[in-house]
């Protein structure tokens, strides 16, 4: 119950103060450049990494990036830049 209350409060703040949602709500911010790059901020760690699939932990759920010849260009505690040919970006909610 408390969680939903907090969530609602945050929603309210975002709406009334016109702030970007990712700042307040700990959502991932994903930037893609065509199929070549994908840049994800606010992730919570790497779960699986292979040439065809990268699985990232998010605050709620996971993010699955599938493609081919995937390489992690940079990885920092909150950001990750993946290069390759990206075919699919999929949110997985438990």
């Amino acid at each position: 119950m408390t969680r939903t209350w907090r969530q609602r409060f945050k929603q309210l703040v975002v709406r009334t103060m016109d702030l970007p949602q990712d700042v307040i709500m700990d959502l991932p911010r994903i930037t893609m450049i065509g199929q070549l790059h994908i840049y994800i901020e606010n992730h919570r760690g790497l779960l699986a990494f292979s040439e065809t699939e990268v699985r990232l932990m998010l605050k709620h759920g996971q993010l699955l990036i599938s493609g081919s010849a995937l390489v992690i260009k940079t990885i920092l505690p909150e950001e990750i830049l993946i290069e390759g040919k990206i075919d699919k970006v999929l949110f997985i909610n438990e």
Binding site: G45, L47, A48, E51, V71, I72, K73, T74, P77
Partner: protein
């Protein structure tokens, strides 16, 4: 994100990690704030990634007490470059040796060119240069400066009027001006011989022409001595009169000679300091003490180093201090008279011709004034008094 250039400066390491769930290792490193890039999967159990050389210890910490096997594949950037340089130090040594060679060769004497000298003089100049050490293959710093060489050459070779010594790069260029030996003036035109000055004739040698005077005659300036017109009066013949008419002439000289003279002379003590100079600073390399001469003359010679044709901003400086002494010379009156006479005589000999000789001298007057002896001396000189006077024909 960090700049890859600064990463290259501090060095980067390519790492291969082996083990199950290598993603967890990456997460661990991420948490430890390690900057990771270029992560690639090698196979199911291993990944390759790159980290900063300075963060290798963090990787070690993360790997410790875990089942991962980590191996370093390669390193690049600053520290690794230096390591490789050390391994291949032969190259560096070779490079330095090469530069040193060029440096030494650029400061050597590579040639001596002598212009406008006849072979005999050139040979003499080369011999003289040899003896003062200017030779092909010598290092320039240990040689005299061009000005000094110039002075030494002109002093030691009498035949030279002037030598221009110019050091261009590694080659000495010597421009020579030789003394022209006075050529015998052959007068073919008809002439008389007349007296240069008043004299008493002591000796006569007439080669051509008709003598108009005799030995022991007193002649005045411009008087006809030997006539160029010979033959009978009705049919005169004009010739160029030649001959030597020696006559006694008189010179009066006044000389002053101080009784007491102060000279400053070098007593032979000298001390040299050698410096390397560069950008206004000079670093002593030899000769560190400062001599305590009471009176001295200081000479500073600085010359820049060369590299190929360029002058380097560094150079070599020699500072030489020569000790001086004041010497007081004191003459008695008799000594002063002798010295003064000698001085007057040598002065006179300078203005007289080669075939002249001083036959007598007489002190007319001597007095001492302000510590100086003043002498008036009368000299008797035998010299050739004949000089040609062209006969202008047409009357």
């Amino acid at each position: 994100m960090k700049n890859p250039w600064t990463n290259l400066m501090t060095g980067v390491v390519k790492v291969k990690a082996n083990g199950k769930g290598t993603e967890r290792l990456l997460n661990k490193l991420m948490k430890a704030n390690v900057h990771i890039w270029d992560v690639k999967r090698k196979d199911a159990e291993s990944i390759i990634f790159t980290i900063d050389y300075s963060e290798v210890f963090k990787l070690r910490q993360a790997v410790r007490k875990s089942e991962y096997k980590v191996s370093f594949i390669s390193g690049s950037g600053g520290p690794f470059f230096l390591k490789r340089l050390k391994k291949n130090s032969g190259f560096i040594v070779g490079l330095l040796a090469f530069l040193l060679c060029i440096f030494i060769l650029s400061n050597m004497v590579w040639g001596i060119k002598i212009y406008e000298a006849d072979p005999a003089t050139e040979h003499e100049i080369r011999k003289e240069l040899d003896s003062i050490g200017v030779k092909v293959g010598k290092i320039q710093f240990f040689l005299d400066s061009p000005e000094t060489i110039q002075r030494k050459l002109t002093e030691s070779i009498g035949r030279l009027t002037y030598v221009g010594v110019d050091l261009k790069g590694t080659i000495y260029h010597l421009k020579v001006v030789e003394k022209k030996q006075p050529e015998e003036v052959i007068r073919t035109g008809p002439q008389h011989l007349v007296a240069k000055k008043k004299a008493i004739i002591t000796d006569m040698l007439v080669e051509k022409g008709q003598a108009k005077v005799n030995v022991h005659d007193y002649v005045t300036k411009g008087q006809l001595l030997v006539s160029g017109i010979i033959g009978r009066e009705e049919k005169p013949e004009v010739v160029s009169a030649t001959g030597k008419i020696m006559g006694e002439t008189w010179y009066k000289a006044t000389v002053k000679m101080p009784l007491k003279t102060r000279f400053s002379v070098y007593n032979g003590d000298e001390y040299s300091n050698y410096y390397l100079t560069g950008g206004g600073f000079s670093l002593p390399v030899w000769g560190f003490s400062n001599p305590t001469y009471k009176q001295f003359e200081e000479e500073t010679v600085s010359r820049p180093f060369h590299f190929l044709q360029w002058e380097l901003p560094i150079g070599f400086k020699t500072k030489t201090q020569r000790s001086k002494e004041i010497i007081v010379r004191e003459y008695t009156k008799e000594q002063a008279v002798v010295q003064a006479k000698m001085m007057a005589k040598s002065d006179l000999e300078k203005i007289l011709g080669e075939d002249a000789s001083i036959v007598g001298e007489k002190i007319l007057h001597e007095r001492i004034e302000n510590g100086k002896i003043i002498l008036s001396i009368h000299f008797q000189v035998i010299e050739n008094i004949a000089t040609g006077l062209p006969i202008i024909q047409g009357d």
